[in-house]
């Protein structure tokens, strides 16, 4: 019954958020039915739109893990964007600096991106453990620092002199671009994201480390009195979370942009927050939720053109869904329907 509550509440919140957005559209004089029709058409209506959606889902899967994993330890880390952009820069610079290694070069870029992300979000965990700094605020502020650093790197230190209109790092050689997965026009980033979600699920739910992390998240005092190394667990899992976000940056550079540049700061880190909360920080549930949200993003262009809506429309939709999710969190355990006592004769 607790499981069904874990599915039903976010689902209700999603529907409530979409309905509220429908009211918003009506106030603007637009038809919500048309809107959701276009969303379906552009996000999920054809093989092409599915491919577009899944390509966008790849970084979102990884960005959502950067929120969901620390959340299991009771930490609200919302600055995954910082790890994404710096991971992307590290991967771009590494790829451009070590040419001619074939698949080994891609692996090297992935390691560089993941390591950078791990250090960045690991630093958030370190400040939390050693100095008691609030991780929500520090990670958010560090995201701004990261974006500034990225701009600095691509505009000066690592700028490719040939990139005139859009300052970028040196372009990656063709062998360092992530290929499409077999049978579809979706790059391997999706595969990486899916594997990361499955591995994260196994680590959190099936290993003793994950269980120890959940005890820390459940009650840090109980973890301490059991002598669990709470500090090391927080450091390790924030670093793991950051490595996934860094990997998202690498995927974007290698599969989409071909070099690191300002396009890395596309807000995936922030959409990841919404996805992780909708998925209730369950790594497997992230997969369908990320695909859904990716579909919304994929349809953004179409609904703007067809319904003449401003480009912030999708942000409004995401915001409404997020508020609905936060409200639903306060309702956990409030419904008799979901309590085992309602169904079992004690």
């Amino acid at each position: 019954m607790r499981r069904s509550e874990a599915v039903a509440l976010p689902l209700l919140a999603l529907i409530a958020g979409l309905a509220a957005f429908g009211v918003f559209l009506l106030l603007l004089g637009k038809s919500p039915i048309d809107f959701y029709g276009y969303v379906y058409q552009a996000g999920f209506g054809s093989a092409f739109s599915w491919e577009n959606t899944l390509s966008r889902a790849a970084p979102l899967l990884l960005a959502a893990l950067c929120v969901a994993i620390p959340a299991r330890l009771g930490l609200v880390v919302i600055g995954g964007e910082g790890a994404i952009v710096l991971g992307g820069v590290a991967a771009g610079v590494t790829g451009a600096s070590f040419p001619g290694l074939g698949l080994g070069g891609i692996a090297l870029m992935a390691v560089a991106g993941a390591l950078t992300g791990a250090l960045w979000i690991g630093a958030v965990g370190w400040m939390r453990v050693r100095r008691g700094v609030n991780e929500t605020i520090s990670s958010l502020l560090m995201a701004y620092i990261a974006i500034a650093l990225m701009n600095h790197f691509v505009e000066s230190v690592f700028r490719d002199p040939a990139s005139l209109n859009k300052p970028s790092t040196a372009p990656l050689e063709e062998a360092y671009r992530l290929a499409d997965m077999p049978g579809m026009a979706v790059h391997w980033g999706l595969g990486i994201g899916l594997v990361a979600c499955i591995v994260s699920y196994i680590v959190m739910e099936r290993t003793t480390w994950g269980f120890a992390a959940r005890i820390v998240g459940g009650n840090v005092r109980a973890a301490q009195i059991q002598g669990l190394p709470t500090g090391r667990l927080i450091l390790g899992f924030t670093a793991l979370a950051g490595s996934f976000a860094g990997l998202a940056g690498m995927v974007e550079v290698s599969a989409v942009h071909g070099s690191a540049n300002g396009s890395l700061a596309a807000g995936y880190g922030y959409t990841g927050i919404l996805i992780a909360f909708l998925a209730r920080h369950n790594a497997l549930a992230i997969i369908p939720v990320a695909v859904l949200l990716a579909g919304f993003e994929a349809s953004s262009g179409l609904v703007q053109r067809r319904l003449d809506l401003p480009d912030a429309t999708m942000l409004v939709l995401q915001g409404l869904v997020f508020v609905a999710i936060l409200v639903s969190e306060t309702l956990v355990g409030r419904f008799r329907l979901f309590k085992p006592e309602t169904w079992v004769r004690a």
């Binding site: 003793t208 269980f211 120890a212 459940g218 109980a222 009195i225 002598g227 669990l228």
Partner: protein, 505 residues
């Protein structure tokens, strides 16, 4: 100094029931006008309930309140204020970001929509001139020391025109010097300015030094009192603690063995950061229960934290079985050390995790041979939980229910089941029966005694003196962060224990 006409307050047959629980049973006390009256009693004796009835926070089940010479009915705190009754709480109720002057003015019931600060400042200066002490009124309250804040609380009550003040353990957050200063002033105001004061306390020293009269409550009843000058500390201790019989309900067996836990010269800072915890020597031997008694807030929580590795110490050594002990999981496991912290749901469980998961906290990461595990064995976890739920009679709908859904007694049973399985050499316990019903209490105490009889060294930290006396082989008393007194249970003198608990060395 303006001389107020002092008012007295009297309760007549005050009874307060919460469901079937009788918190106050026919309590009549008289606080005569212009006196400093102390209300003495152990934790849970009904002191707070009584003053909350006086202040209108609670509506007594029966009984009358007489203010001055008229019977009054007080429905809410505002009515109490109208009769001149005011209360100073244990913890501060000032707004930290506002200055003293602002705190005083905003608390007035008739504060105007637009405040003329120049005018108010003038009025405040006049008011302060009549007070026997000063507090800086122009700095934010957050910059004041604890003693100054408590003085400001007092000033606030006087500024609001209260003539009868109830002080609820006003010195618990103050250093001894600050406490003396504050109580000295209060005393002076009762003598010179016609203030009447009723102070809740459990410190005998403060009663003898400052109060005129005392009333003692025990288990919701008025058990005695009178003029402080005519009562000795021993008399007050006897009233407060009562005629306790040293019942040895649980059978004891075996003789104590070697020391399992030893503390030597441990120095640490307490929670407030103001006082020092200083434990010269503490040993707990195999097969004995050492009870640590004391009024809450005298370092017992810190002792538990020190032993659990949650509080750093500046000097000294903690050893278990002769080896330095840092309370890590490895060491606790190697030395078979287990903890039962107070409020188990809050300190030993993850409330939203299931009963089965909570019961696995201690050994989920090792297999039957004690080797570290990487994969979680949920099947074994659930099987073990089922076994323990049956063995310890934990009442739960399912082992998959969140542990927060269980009653307090069943949470404690689940935690006991987790901590008492396997070999236990040292058991550190804090207030194990707090807030539990009768049957759960008996069962949990029997389990603790059984552990002792099988050779476990038990350190029992408890605010319930009955529990200490029932279970312990040796009794220690903590006061002001030190072990103030030690006695074997056979030679225990209750009056003496009570005096040391009350801070009279």
């Amino acid at each position: 100094m303006t001389a107020l006409a002092p008012i007295g307050v009297e309760t007549v047959g005050m009874t307060m029931k919460f469901g079937a629980f009788v918190a106050l049973d026919n309590v009549s006390i008289q606080v005569r006008p212009g006196t400093f009256h102390a209300l003495l009693g152990e934790n849970g004796a009904g002191k707070s309930t009584l003053v909350k009835c006086m202040m209108g926070f609670y509506h007594p089940t029966s009984g009358q309140l007489i203010v001055g010479d008229r019977e009054v009915s007080i429905d809410d705190p505002r009515a109490a204020h109208a009769h001149g009754l005011g209360m100073v709480y244990q913890h501060f109720t000032l707004v930290p970001s506002l200055t003293g002057a602002e705190n005083l003015v905003i608390n007035r019931p008739d504060v105007p929509a637009v405040i003329d600060w120049a005018d108010e400042r003038g009025a405040l200066a006049d008011f302060m001139a009549t007070m026997p002490f000063a507090v800086p009124l122009d700095v934010p309250v957050s910059r004041l020391s604890a003693g100054e804040k408590q003085k400001l609380e007092l000033l606030k009550q006087l500024y609001l025109g209260r003539k009868f003040l109830i002080l609820d353990e006003p010195t618990s957050v103050l250093t001894p010097a600050e406490a003396d200063e504050l109580l000295g002033m209060v005393r002076q105001m009762t003598v010179q300015a016609g203030l009447t004061v009723l102070m809740i306390t459990h410190k005998f020293r403060e009663v003898t030094a400052y109060a005129d009269e005392v009333s003692v409550l025990r288990r919701g009843r008025y058990v005695g009192g009178g003029k402080v000058a005519e009562l000795s500390h021993a008399d007050m201790a006897a009233l407060m603690i009562g005629e306790k019989t040293l019942s040895q309900k649980a059978a004891r067996s075996g003789v104590p063995g070697d020391a399992v836990l030893s503390l030597r010269g441990v120095q640490a800072v307490d929670r407030s950061g103001l006082k020092q915890i200083s434990l010269d020597s503490l040993d707990v031997r195999a097969g004995e229960i050492v009870g640590v008694a004391g009024v809450s807030g005298n370092g017992q929580t810190e002792l538990m934290e020190l032993l659990a590795g949650q509080r750093p110490y500046q000097a000294g050594a903690i050893a278990v079985k002769g080896h330095a002990y840092d309370a890590s999981r490895t060491q606790a496991r190697a030395a078979n050390v287990r903890y039962l912290p107070e409020e188990p749901l809050h300190n030993a469980c993850a409330p939203r995790m299931s009963v089965a998961q909570n019961m696995a906290f201690r050994d989920f990461d090792e297999d039957a041979q004690g080797k570290p595990r990487f994969w979680l064995d949920t099947g074994a976890m659930r099987a073990k939980a089922r076994e323990l739920v049956a063995a310890y009679n934990v009442k739960t709908t399912s082992i998959d229910s969140p542990i927060a859904a269980l009653s307090g007694g069943n949470v404690q049973r689940a935690v006991l089941a987790r901590e008492l399985t396997g070999p236990v050499d040292l058991l550190v316990i804090s207030n194990p029966c707090f807030g539990l019903d009768f049957s759960a209490v008996a069962e949990i105490r029997a389990r603790i005694m059984a552990a002792r009889n099988s050779g476990t060294a038990v350190l029992l930290i408890s605010e319930d003196l009955d529990e200490i006396l029932e279970l312990s082989d040796r009794v220690l008393v903590m006061s002001e962060g030190r072990i103030a007194f030690e006695t074997p249970i056979g030679a225990a003198d209750i009056g003496e224990i009570g005096q040391h608990m009350a801070g009279h060395a």
